[in-house]
Amino acid sequence: MLDSVALTDMAEQVLQIKVAISSRFENIDLVDAVMEAAMRHFGFDEETVERLGLAIREAVANGVRHGNRQEPTKKVELTCDLKQDVMALRITDEGSGFDVDAIPDPLAADNLFNPSGRGILLMRAFMDEVAFDFDNNGGTQVTLKKSLPSPPSDAGSEEDDS
């Protein structure tokens, strides 16, 4: 069940998208669909949409599985803010948080068969910035940031390196 999708054009060059889902795996596809469409609208090429979509999917999936432990009454919320030339996402859950430093490095030889750690690796590989914050009252907030691609008309500016 998709609880809400809000697309608000708040002011020139400022856009906010909010999506809230109950904590079921099948709802992750809905967030993915909304954000992939939004990122195409923002001008990201298909390969980048695919990569960023996966990073977002991983953050939302962590909230559903590890944060909210698939309790349908708990929500995972995504807020996407477009400000100037940056797409900034916040993904929050209602879980009890975790120790980021305790997540094993999935690239270490001994961890190849360890199931965890790859989601955060992919977020860090595809986004410019990844941060985890933990609310004292419970809940994890993941912040993901990515520079927007340069507009085609802006030929003199630097190419986006994504």
Binding site: F25, E50, E58, A61, L112, P115, S116, L122, A125
Partner: protein, 112 residues
Amino acid sequence: MKIPVRNRDGVTILQPTGKITIGIGDVALRDAVDDALAAGSTSILVDFQRASKMDSSGMAELVAAFKKVKESGGEIKLLHLPSNIRDVLTITQISRVFEIFDDEDEAVASFN
């Protein structure tokens, strides 16, 4: 979701369709590999031609499958990886443990 299975020259070919992601596609992959092992197959080829994307849950099932098949004395190999899935398997270095093929004849022949 059940993954289509066919057999060619003693090789069990699994062909997952769509998303190999958390909750559905990852479980289907696990079940298909478990079924193949239970049926006595030791040569398993996963054909990704119809797969659209894979997340970390799908990757966890893929490395778990590698381990299970190896422990059963068999081999599991990958075929027709779409560029986006190849991309994430490279980043996570999972591609280093698998033999990966673009040609089915070559992949099937490699088991013999």
